[in-house]
Every structure is written in structure tokens, then in C-alpha cells.
């Protein structure tokens, strides 16, 4: 997208390919950011309920890492997955409607913020049990391998999840069987209110991979270009048959853990320090400095994003809810072969 001459991207999910691919990375980050900023308002307005975990500050991770995947690859995510879902192509409307509890939501309102699903896009859901998604990722990858497919399964989880037993079991199993799993550790330095140093005896998480014989890389998760480059390498390694890869993405959440969290445990100065590394500001500056975008282009981008979100919210708001009579629908498959 060059300085205002090209038409503004109309559809958020199918943008006209911009000249400089970095502009699309910027757009995706802005889109996730603005979406979640709107979510905060919608939560205050009690349109969204339950637990909601924001990704604000961490956008470079989803945009960089998921951008390195192909459409055949699978993704397993956490409860902090708005960004993952949006970047993967789940529409803002489907996500919003889900959080509004509407039948047009990507899980028909059954999941809410923590359980966005889009199996058509191989997005195997947000999982709200810390580390609970890792075994699924191992199994998805196992099946792809057994079925002779070259797909990679990317599995997102936090620094806190690394302390769970399941992390260990899954790292070992994936490495032992050389499965095509890309372990994406979003190290935002806190598990709720518990800082990295009070969770882990050794805080260099990427180094852990070595004890499973797994290759790894630690990347500045506030730099979307670095994330993307590292993820492309990692995906190539996994797809090349070299077994799983552990990618540590060093990032920070600018907001509290969830909407319930008064954020008493972090130093304001620390938050301010990290905010100076805002991944959007950083890329924007690079692009502006290099002349790839100008103020008008950015304004157009913001306007398009705002329009997309406005439309999503309006559509979600107008959407119906699931019929209560369908409460137990989907508990089991609708068709079951009977035998014997």
C-alpha cells in the first residue's frame, strides 16, 4: 500500500496485496489492537461477559508467527486468543458474535472469549486450562504425520504453562516421536500475578528445549519482523522433517491479566518501559521513516479497520441467540451408527 494513491483496503480478511508486505503486518497488528480496544468498551457495557484476556502489546507474536504458517497448518491456542483467531482469518464478526453469546459466533455462543473455534481454518480452539492444549497439538501433529501430510501444528501457550507437567510430557513426546509441532511460548513474563522469576528456577525458557533435544530460538516478541523471520525458519525446520521446534517469543501484555485483574503486582515503571517497545509503534516508525507509509495511509488503514469492527459489532448485536431448546445439541454427534 503506497501513500494514499491506492484504494483503501476494503475487506479486512482479503486485502489487496500491498506493495511492501510489512504494511500488511502493520495492518494486522492494528486490527487486533483496535478490535481489543473495542472489546474493553463492550465488556464495560456488559455486552461481553465472563473471563476476557487481552492480547494488547503482544500482537507482533500472533501476526509474525501465524503469518509464517500455511493454510494447511493447524493452530492450538489459549484463552488469550483473540489475536490468534483474527490473524488466522476468523472474522471479527464471528469473534464478536461469539463473545456476545450469539448463534452467529464462531462457536455459536457456547465458547465465549476463551473458546473460539474455526475448524475449517484448522483453528482448534482456545483452551482455558493452562497447558491443556499441548497434548492436543501433539495428537494433531501425530495424525498429520500418520496420514502423510506435511502440515505443521503451531501450539501457543504462556510462560506460566511451562511449569505444568503437561508441558514436559508433551515436549518429550513430540521430540521422541519427531512430530511436526511448533511450540510457540508467549513469554509475557507473568502468569497472572506471578512473575517469571517466581515461577521458574531457570528463566531462560528457550534453553529448556535442549533438555528434550529440541531446536529452539528466543525472539524479541515486540518486533514483528523478527518474529516472522524466526517463525519462517522454525516452520521450515519442522516441515523439513527435523522434528518439533520451540520458539520463545519474549513479549509483554500492556493490560491486566483479565478484566477481573486489578494488576497490583506489576511496577508501573516496568509497564511504561515495555510500552515504549510497542510493536505497532515500532513498525510504524520503520515504515514511516522508510517512506513505505505516510499519515494518510495510516489514517486510511485505521478507518478501514474501524469500519470493519463497527460492522462486526453491529452484525453481532443484531444476531439472534441459540434456541434454548438446543442447549444439549452438539453434546454428541447428531448421527451415530448403531451396531450389534
Amino acid at each position: 500500500m503506497t501513500a494514499g494513491t491506492q484504494p483503501v483496503v476494503q475487506s479486512a480478511t482479503r486485502p489487496a496485496a500491498p506493495a511492501d508486505p510489512r504494511v500488511e503486518l502493520l495492518r494486522q497488528m492494528v486490527r487486533v489492537r483496535r478490535f481489543e480496544e473495542r472489546c474493553v468498551q463492550l465488556y464495560s457495557a456488559a455486552k461481553i461477559r465472563g473471563f476476557m484476556h487481552l492480547y494488547i502489546g503482544e500482537e507482533a507474536v500472533a501476526v509474525g508467527a501465524i503469518g509464517a504458517l500455511s493454510a494447511d497448518d493447524a493452530i492450538v491456542s489459549t484463552y488469550r486468543e483473540h489475536g490468534h483467531a483474527l490473524v488466522r482469518g476468523v472474522s471479527a464478526e464471528a469473534v464478536t458474535a461469539e463473545m456476545f453469546g450469539r448463534v452467529t459466533g464462531c462457536s455459536r455462543g457456547r465458547g465465549g472469549s476463551m473458546h473460539l473455534f474455526d475448524i475449517g481454518r484448522r483453528f482448534y480452539g482456545g483452551n482455558a486450562i493452562v497447558a491443556g492444549g499441548l497434548p492436543l497439538a501433539v495428537g494433531l501433529a501425530l495424525a498429520d504425520r500418520m496420514r502423510g501430510r506435511s502440515a505443521v501444528t503451531a501450539c501457543f501457550f504462556g510462560d506460566g504453562a511451562v511449569a505444568e507437567g503437561e508441558f514436559h510430557e508433551c515436549m518429550n513426546l513430540a521430540a521422541l516421536w519427531r512430530l511436526p509441532v511448533l511450540f510457540c511460548c508467549e513469554n509475557n513474563r507473568y502468569a497472572m500475578g506471578t512473575a517469571l522469576e517466581r515461577t521458574h528456577a531457570v528463566t531462560d525458557l528457550a534453553a529448556r528445549a535442549g533438555s528434550y533435544g529440541m531446536p529452539s530460538a528466543a525472539v524479541d516478541g515486540m518486533d514483528v519482523l523478527a518474529v516472522r523471520a524466526a517463525a519462517l525458519d522454525a516452520v521450515a525446520s519442522v516441515r523439513g522433517g527435523h522434528g518439533p521446534f520451540f520458539l520463545e517469543l519474549r513479549t509483554y501484555r500492556f493490560r491486566a491479566h483479565s478484566m477481573y485483574d486489578p494488576d497490583r503486582y506489576r511496577d508501573k515503571a516496568e509497564i511504561a518501559r515495555w510500552k515504549r517497545r510497542d510493536p505497532i509503534d515500532r513498525l510504524l516508525k520503520q515504515l514511516t521513516d522508510g517512506g513505505a507509509v505516510d499519515a494518510a495511509a495510516v489514517a486510511a488503514m485505521e478507518a478501514a479497520v474501524a469500519a470493519e469492527i463497527d460492522a462486526a459489532v453491529a452484525a453481532a448485536d443484531a444476531a439472534p441467540v441459540e434456541d434454548v431448546a438446543d442447549l444439549t445439541r452438539f453434546l454428541l454427534a447428531e448421527q451415530r451408527t448403531r451396531h450389534g
Binding site: R110, G112, H115, A128, V324, L331
Partner: protein, 326 residues
């Protein structure tokens, strides 16, 4: 008398225990700097320091097991599992160690451990964060299971649990933390043995506990308006069950309804029903009824979740049917 919330009552109980007995300490995810996921332990780290208010890594099996080991070795740990949903990760430790070690060692050691956890649905937290599994835990020999539903029990059960030489699990329903009321300044320990009649009545016995006590009392008032006088029993302790209080009530009312947020099949309500059948069959004028959660993972959407959980209207309906039945 002071106005106090359930959350504050729990905190007072913890503070009191930490002051009275230096063997007591609190351990769990985010109990310290965060102040507890539901704010129960807010301020305790500052008062008692990090040796006694211990933030743990996300390692449910390890820190629950560590609580068991510490309890066997002279301490009186209070372990907080953030919610019952995550307790599955520590269930092996609870079942195969906490509940078993005394018997397996023929009484050579015991596990005077208290495990607290939040339970229940109703806050739109969806399928993985809304379980009501206290009925499951009540199946395990060697444990005592407490479900404080009132301010007095929130304040009073902990100390009693800490005096118990055996493991006690305390289930705090998530909907109760913000409930408030008056509590005497000298509110003391409450027993972990007996059920309580929270509303006396003659026409039907409704047995419940924890998060559904409030809904049941609401239903009882509605029933009263339509001329049905319900007796409401708060079980308080889910293992061992106080059969006497239940059977005496059924002997008076001849009708019983159980209200339980667990999924219907295999619920604690089934156990209570069975005990009534075993012990008071000939007193019954109608089949025992139960109001439980629908057998489905709890959905996020408010209207679906509400439809899945026991509600006053359903309790009124079920009790009304029972009283109508010959």
C-alpha cells in the same frame, strides 16, 4: 456485628488461623502478590510474609502434593487450588496420597491438610471453568468435604478444618464471594459434622448446599406464597453426610427434593436420594425429586448457561409437583 462479605469472612478466617498457629501457611497460585484469584487472601502476604503466604508455579500436582508432604511432617498447610476445574490435575495426589496414606500406613502418618477451592458455574465462564465436582470428591473415603454457604461458615469452618487430623476439602462457590451480611465480631468456629435447617417447613424437605442454598431459599419463599411450606436443609458437609438431620426432616414432611449444581447423573443428589430410600423409604409419600444441572458442558451464553443450571423457578416447579404427587 459488622457488615462483611463472604470473601472477607474467608480472609478473616485465614488471618485468624495464621495468627493462632505458626504451623499454618497458605500456598497456591497467586495467593500472594495477586491477592488470590478471587481476592480472598488480599493483604495476607504483606502481613505474614512470603514464607507463610507462598505463591506457587502453575503446578497443581506438585504443590498439592507438597501440601500433603508438609502436613505429614508437622505443618498445617492450607492449599488453595484456584478453582475446582484445575483440581483434576492434582486429583491423583488427593485420592492416592492425601486420602489414602493414613490407612495404607496403618495409622503411622496422617495428612492434616486443608485444600480450598472455588467451585461452580453461573458466571459465564464456559465449559472448562464452571464445574461443580464437590459431589465427586464426596465419593472418596478418607476426605472430609465442606461447602460453606453462609458467612458464618465461611468464617467458621476453616479453623475447625485445621484442627482435623485428616484432610478437609473446602468448596467455595464462586457466586458467594460478593454476598454480604452481618456477622458477630466474635464469630467463632463452626462444626464440620452437621447439616443445618436454614428454613423450617412442614410440607417438603429440600436438601441443598453451597451455591444453590440461596436459590433454594428464594424458591422456598415463592413456594410459601403458593401455600407450600418447604423445609430447607443446608448440608454444609458433603462427606460424611449428616443422615440424621435429613431423615428427621423427611420423617416430618414425607417428601424430599434435592437441589445440587452437579450434573444430574451420578450427582451427589443421587447419593442423598439413595440414603433417603435406604433409611426412610416407608416415610415417603412421593418419589424423591432432584433438581440438578443439565448434562452438558456449561455454555458461555447467558441464556444457555442459565437454562443449564438449577434455578428457583425449576425448584418451585419440582417441589410443587412433589407436593401434588400422592
Amino acid at each position: 456485628m459488622a457488615e462483611i462479605t463472604y470473601r472477607e469472612a474467608l480472609r478473616e478466617a485465614l488471618r485468624d488461623a495464621l495468627r493462632r498457629d505458626e504451623r499454618v501457611f497458605l500456598m497456591g497460585e497467586d495467593v500472594g502478590r495477586y491477592g488470590g484469584a478471587f481476592g480472598v487472601s488480599l493483604g495476607l502476604l504483606e502481613e505474614f510474609g512470603p514464607e507463610r503466604i507462598r505463591d506457587t508455579p502453575l503446578s497443581e500436582s506438585a504443590f498439592v502434593g507438597a501440601g500433603i508432604g508438609a502436613a505429614m511432617n508437622g505443618m498445617r498447610p492450607v492449599v488453595e487450588i484456584m478453582t475446582v476445574n484445575f483440581s483434576l490435575l492434582a486429583l491423583d495426589q488427593i485420592m492416592n496420597n492425601a486420602a489414602t496414606l493414613r490407612h495404607m500406613s496403618a495409622g503411622q502418618c496422617g495428612v492434616p491438610l486443608v485444600i480450598r477451592m472455588t467451585t461452580g458455574g453461573g458466571r459465564q465462564l464456559a465449559a472448562q471453568h464452571s464445574h461443580s465436582l464437590e459431589g465427586w470428591y464426596a465419593h472418596i473415603p478418607g476426605l472430609r468435604i465442606a461447602a460453606p454457604a453462609t458467612l458464618a461458615d465461611a468464617r467458621g469452618m476453616l479453623w475447625t478444618a485445621l484442627q482435623d487430623p485428616d484432610p478437609v476439602l473446602v468448596f467455595e462457590h464462586g457466586s458467594l464471594y460478593n454476598t454480604s451480611g452481618d456477622l458477630p465480631d466474635d464469630a467463632g468456629p463452626t462444626d464440620l459434622d452437621r447439616a443445618r435447617i436454614r428454613r423450617a417447613g412442614r410440607d417438603v424437605t429440600i436438601v441443598t448446599y453451597g451455591g444453590t442454598l440461596g436459590k433454594t431459599l428464594t424458591a422456598a419463599e415463592e413456594l410459601a406464597d403458593s401455600g407450600v411450606d418447604a423445609e430447607v436443609i443446608d448440608l454444609r458437609v458433603l462427606r460424611p453426610i449428616d443422615d440424621v438431620t435429613v431423615m428427621e426432616s423427611v420423617a416430618r414432611t414425607h417428601r424430599a427434593l434435592i437441589v445440587d449444581e452437579g450434573w444430574r447423573s451420578g450427582s451427589l443428589a443421587a447419593e442423598i436420594t439413595t440414603r433417603i430410600v435406604e433409611q426412610a423409604f416407608y416415610e415417603l409419600d412421593a418419589p424423591v425429586g432432584r433438581v440438578c444441572s443439565a448434562e452438558v458442558p456449561l455454555p458461555y451464553a447467558q441464556h444457555l448457561e442459565a437454562a443449564a443450571l438449577p434455578q428457583p423457578a425449576g425448584i418451585v416447579r419440582a417441589a410443587g409437583e412433589l407436593v401434588g404427587a400422592s
